[in-house]
């Protein structure tokens, strides 16, 4: 059974919200999981792992602090890629100016790619990101190579470097997938997070909440 990309985005967004991210960040997390799935990468799985890892942790411990010019670290020790990714996309102009950025210890760095892709589009420049021997160029022509999935899928990178580059056309464009599979176990974990956003039903709300009558026999 394959999932539509809309289903993947919706489930991921709800899961991210259920795990405690703000609505705005959760929306981008949904788009990030979708982008990765469309690129043939296990976005939903990596997201489920990250949300499990960070469950119950405060935003303040996960968000980037600029330790010194060009270096971001988390007070809690490990950056959340959903928060850092959103911040990187917000700082697209700074990246376009040529400023390099270094992220300290970062969880699930694969999740940075959709945000850097957005930053590349916003700034009109390619962005190169590297960790643990893997380098990806994000930009209009670039799609990460699913062959590098193992290196892309590390749970923790000690250091991530980000640098804008002149747009090149050397990267191989990869066709986007329009459907994706999600392992049953991943879907169940994301669904468990998503369920936290649903209000338990009461007899009153069951009757009044949707406002419809009970019969259609007229």
């Amino acid at each position: 059974m394959t999932w539509s990309l809309n289903e993947i985005e919706t489930l991921s967004r709800k899961a991210a919200r259920g795990a405690g991210l703000s609505w705005g960040l959760a929306e981008e997390a949904g788009k990030a999981a979708r982008w990765l799935a469309a690129a043939g990468l296990p976005g939903p799985q990596v997201l489920a792992d990250l949300l499990t890892r960070n469950d119950g942790r405060d935003y303040e411990t996960l968000c980037p602090h600029e330790e010194h010019e060009g270096t971001w670290i988390a007070r809690g020790g490990t950056l959340c890629p959903l928060i850092s990714g959103a911040a990187l996309s917000d700082h697209a102009e700074r990246l376009a100016r040529g400023d390099a950025l270094t992220l300290g210890r970062t969880a699930s760095p694969m999740l940075l790619l959709p945000y850097l892709d957005a930053a590349a589009h916003l700034s009109g420049r390619d962005i190169t990101v590297s960790w643990d021997g893997v380098t990806v160029t994000c930009g209009p022509a670039a799609r990460p190579d699913p062959g590098a999935e193992t290196a892309l899928g590390v749970a923790i990178a000690e250091c991530v470097t980000i640098q804008s580059a002149t747009p090149s056309d050397t990267a191989t464009p990869r066709p986007a997938q329009s459907r994706a599979d999600i392992p049953r176990e991943t879907a169940a974990r994301l669904d468990a997070f998503a369920r936290r956003t649903y209000a338990p039903e009461t007899p009153e709300s069951r009757l009044s909440g949707a406002g419809a009558g009970l019969t259609d026999n007229d």
């Binding site: 059974m1 809309n6 705005g24 968000c63 916003l122 459907r179 039903e201 949707a210």
Partner: protein
Amino acid sequence: MEQHQGMTVPPRDPDHVMRLSRLGSFHQSRLSFMRILLRRMESEAWRFERPVFDIDAAGTGRAVYTAHGPDHSYSLVAFANDLPADQRSDRVIATAWDATFTLFDGVPTDADLDRLEQNVPKQEAGRITESELSLSRANRSVRLWDHVVERLAAGRQPDRATVEEVGYLMRTTAVYGSGKFGAADREMTAGRPEFQPPFQIEMLSVYLTRAFVMDLVEHMALMRAPDTATALDPDLRRRFGIGNSTGLGMAPFLVTHPALLNNWIGAREEALSRIRSLPSASTTEAASLRSFARRAAAHVAEWHSDHPAQIAKLDALGADMRALLAHLDRADLCTDHPWNRLWLWGETVLSLEGQELLASLLLEPYPHLVDGLATCMAADEAATWRIDGAMSVARLRDLVERIYGWALATDWSEPAAQARVWYVSEEKLEPRLGERADEPLEPYEQPLCPGRDAARMHADLAATRETTVAGFLMRHPEHRHVLRRAQIAARLPYAEIRDNTIDASLLPIDMLRMKLSFFGASHFDPRSDRWVRINMYQHAPFPHELGLRSGDDWAYPFLSGAAS
């Protein structure tokens, strides 16, 4: 050409248009999605056929209706059921229906039909694939259904007054599209010209559903009494639309798709502005407007509701139509910017229902100025979705004050201003509306109250030492959602409902009405403050009549004696 002389009337101010009471008074127009679809199918001479119609005497079985366009074919696959009365519910939480449907991308094989038969009748509990474009269901209007079957079986036509009282034989509820329950994402088909405008898949599905329902009722009469049964008179047959019952699930869509909302409203406002700017009109155009106004008055006379709020609106609309027809009898509709003068007259005399009906009517005589705008109604949501982090905090504050002025003037500490909570229920995963003071719902609140959220952000913007949006958001992730909205609305003036969507006085039916009017629905009949019944495609030609009749000229009742 026409606009070179003199003034141009700008589109209306979003602060004026985007109020719930006005949006809740919108009517169908040339830019409605049903009319866009039928215009296309007619101009491209789509072919229709019914390769499968296998329904037994109990009314169970399956049918396929295929529409052939220039490059693609689409098939409505219908499964008919013999539903016991105690299971007939139009709530989204129902589990069985009189008929279920999917729109198949192409022409299904028997194997496809067998697969679909295992899934489509289960609706949300089933699973469809990228070969399917929509998923929907319908229940009979039992009273009218029984009457029509009985009459046709006896060789007689149904009673016209009874037909008009209900208006349809089946009511759809949810029509799911874009990627829902495994269906193909909109992105997979949006590049096809026939699906470029919004909701064309859903409108095609409903159009073919109407054809199926009418065939089914005639078939049931024939099965009951093969010797005496007759078919419906074609003119009476076209008086049957297809019903729909819509609850709260539809309302959040307008808030979660701001760029799309902007493009719908923007297209209609641009059309109105073009016509108000015309320095003169021909006698033919004036006669056309007068004729459509008479037909609209006939429509209003046929429009019934038991809901007190709608009864009051319809009373006012009836008076509006009398005033409008009287004014049109004596007004000069040809010189000195006639439509702008008419519009300004309407603003002083007509209720909101009447004003917005006049807006729709003014588009009717001008297909060449209006119909092309249909291509502007889809939205590239990705183009405006990313936050511009380089924007200054000062600029953002200025935008918030301009876009959400009404919200900054609201006292949010008043309980009434935040009386409601939008949430999603655990049981059915459907949007609901609850009372903040009475139920412990706040932790589950959905971000469907942009005004209040913008006011909260504005307070933090006043206090921050950050100078850029990027810096502000690093410290205030809770504002990320509404900040994105503010930046979208800065570029797209009609992106935001400029009203309080959680106020004690909120009528969610206003949101439903606005969306359904763009679909092309009529006969809005609220059943409560959050649930509405409508009619779709009433008076429209059936597939086999497309091109043989009067084209786009079906959205108002035909006057007796007039060519139809």
